[in-house]
């Protein structure tokens, strides 16, 4: 009879008590796991997607919105910027690389991004099959898009106006899939990339033209550089010196705004952080209640078991043995609870991700991180702490008195 078996059997002699304790611990650990996984994954995604981008220039408005729309493809763009002005910035000596973006269309909720070949080197994109886009209306699609939308090289599709719904389809121009990207583990997995000219063509060179009901094809033919617009520019600096000078220059001397992904991500995270903190405290509270419940359970059962324990002593068990039996019970309860909780957390995250609409912020419940070991350790610590008082009591109990009473 190993001590583990003795403790194990005793725990399950009261299945409801044991289940309640395990449930509480699993619940607390589950919430903590979800928070831990979600925040790590979001942070990771934020960092990965803005890795090589120092600055985003776009129309005036909320800088956070500009970052969200141009780097994470979540929010709506702040507006458009004139191509001529943008071109001036792209030639600025501080700028090493500038990538123009033209947003505004989608295919079944997947954003269509008009850009040029600089985008490929900025994100280090690789082709899985086919080619990168070259001519207008050629599209290279992200790996997830190919899978989820069932698109192959050679397929054609119509873009819809707007960023989320397929309300007004641009029936006049069909895109042709010319290539599929290798999975990149960033936003580009969920994008359709095409030449800027395609987006201009769709909108007859200008967004307004579409709303006014002009004929796209006719418009596109007599377009002029002065009318053309980008949505934003992704900029890589040539030297660190630019950090101090360039954004200020953009904000003060042009009609555009510059936003730093690093700064805005930090700001965004501090906003989300409040909610995360609240939930975290909530989970810690549940864990605390769980610890108390384990304590009460062990303490109460100790009263009923005092005779059992005394008998064990008469059978030759030392005081230390009884101490370790009680501690072991606390440990078993919390260990099971924590393991179930961690599994639960992964399951919940996987469930959430399967309901997630926005493919850009999609989370994965199957990724394990080393911080989860801290959760496990915390669970075990709670087990020991909750069991320590009952264990000390068992250690100290006067068996002669207990036996004499009965």
């Amino acid at each position: 009879m190993s001590p583990f078996k003795i403790s194990w059997k005793n725990i399950w002699s009261k299945p409801l008590n044991a289940a309640l304790n395990i449930l509480l611990i699993a619940f607390g650990t589950g919430i903590l796991t979800v928070l831990l996984l979600a925040s790590t994954q979001i942070e990771d995604k934020l960092a990965k997607n803005s890795k090589d981008i120092d600055l985003v220039v776009g129309a005036k408005g909320s800088p956070l919105q500009l970052i969200l729309s141009s780097i994470y493809y979540i929010d709506f763009p702040t507006g458009n910027i004139p191509m001529n002005e943008a071109k001036k910035l792209m030639r600025n000596p501080f700028v090493k690389r500038a990538v123009p973006l033209a947003l505004g269309d989608n295919y079944n909720g997947v954003r269509i991004v008009g850009t040029d070949s600089n985008y490929i080197s900025l994100y280090g994109l690789k082709i899985q099959s086919g080619n990168f886009w070259k001519a207008d209306l050629e599209a290279t699609i992200g790996a997830n898009v190919a899978k989820e939308q069932n698109l192959k090289v050679g397929d054609t599709f119509f873009g819809g106006h707007g960023l989320t719904e397929m309300k007004d389809e641009h029936k006049d121009h069909a895109y042709k899939v010319v290539g599929i990207l290798e999975p990149q583990q960033n936003v580009t997995d969920n994008l359709i990339l095409t030449a800027i000219g395609s987006v201009w063509k769709m909108h007859g060179d200008e967004g307004e033209a579409h709303e006014e009901g002009h004929d796209h094809a006719a418009e596109a033919d007599h377009s002029h550089d002065e009318d053309r617009e980008f949505t934003s520019l992704l900029i890589q600096y040539r030297s660190p010196m630019a950090v101090a000078m360039f954004p200020q220059m953009v904000n003060q001397t042009t009609n555009m705004q510059a936003a730093s992904p690093a700064q805005e991500s930090t700001r965004l995270f501090s906003l989300i952080g409040v909610g995360v903190d609240t939930l975290q405290w909530f989970a810690v509270l549940i864990m605390l209640i769980a610890a108390i419940s384990v304590f009460v359970n062990l303490y109460n059962s100790l009263k009923e078991r005092s005779y059992d324990l005394a008998i064990m002593r008469t059978l030759g068990a030392s005081k230390g043995k009884l101490f370790s039996l009680i501690i072991l019970e606390g440990l078993i309860l919390t260990l099971i609870g924590t393991v179930i909780g961690i599994a639960l957390g992964h399951g919940i995250l996987q469930l959430i991700s399967s309901y997630q609409e926005s493919s850009q912020a999609k989370m994965n419940g199957l990724i394990f991180i080393k911080e989860e070991f801290y959760l496990l350790a915390a669970g075990l610590a709670i087990g020991i702490i909750a069991a320590i008082i009952p264990a000390v009591q068992a250690y100290r109990s006067n068996i002669s008195k207990i036996l004499a009473k009965n």
């Binding site: 009879m1 003795i6 005779y307 008998i311 008469t314 059978l315 030759g316 068990a317 036996l403 009965n406």
Partner: protein, 209 residues
Amino acid sequence: MISIQSVSHRYTSGHELQFADWQVNNGEQWLLLGQSGSGKTTLLHILTGLLTPTNGKVKIGDTDLYSLSAKKLDAFRGQQIGIVFQKPHLIKSLNITENLLLAQSFAGLPNNKKRVEEVLDSLNMLPKKNAYPQELSQGQLQRVTIARAVINKPTLLIADEPTSSLDDHNAEAVLALLKEQSTLNQATLVVATHDKRVKDAFTLTYTLS
């Protein structure tokens, strides 16, 4: 086997109990007689190393009980002394076999299922080896606690009021079992009781006044 010399115990209330010196030889079967409150249980606890006497010396075999460290004393008790209590008490979460294995484990001995079955068989309890304590009757439980007391072949078998909650028939049976088991396992037997039905079964008697 047992030797107590000028042993006395002072209760927390201040009341002091003096025990007459006592010498028990190997293999003898003794009756420890006394009214309730006369200190029978106290003396049994002192004999089994559960209660340190205020004064005096207690020897079991060649071992001076209270010169042992706490841990060694527990191990000694587990291996050398078998105890049967008035109320048969088994660990409810374990079945009969496991309860007996538990006694082997706690005594620091390897688990020996053959020995468990042998003892259960000698007490006619083998068919119940996988039953849980709540499935057994009082009489059956008492048999199992006797089995548990002799499982490690102790040199000393002590029973505290083993018959007081039993009817005549069962009391007689239990007493016979205790004597039989102590002979079978070559253990010295001490039965503490105030039960008059038991008296005639023993020739050696230590009386507490």
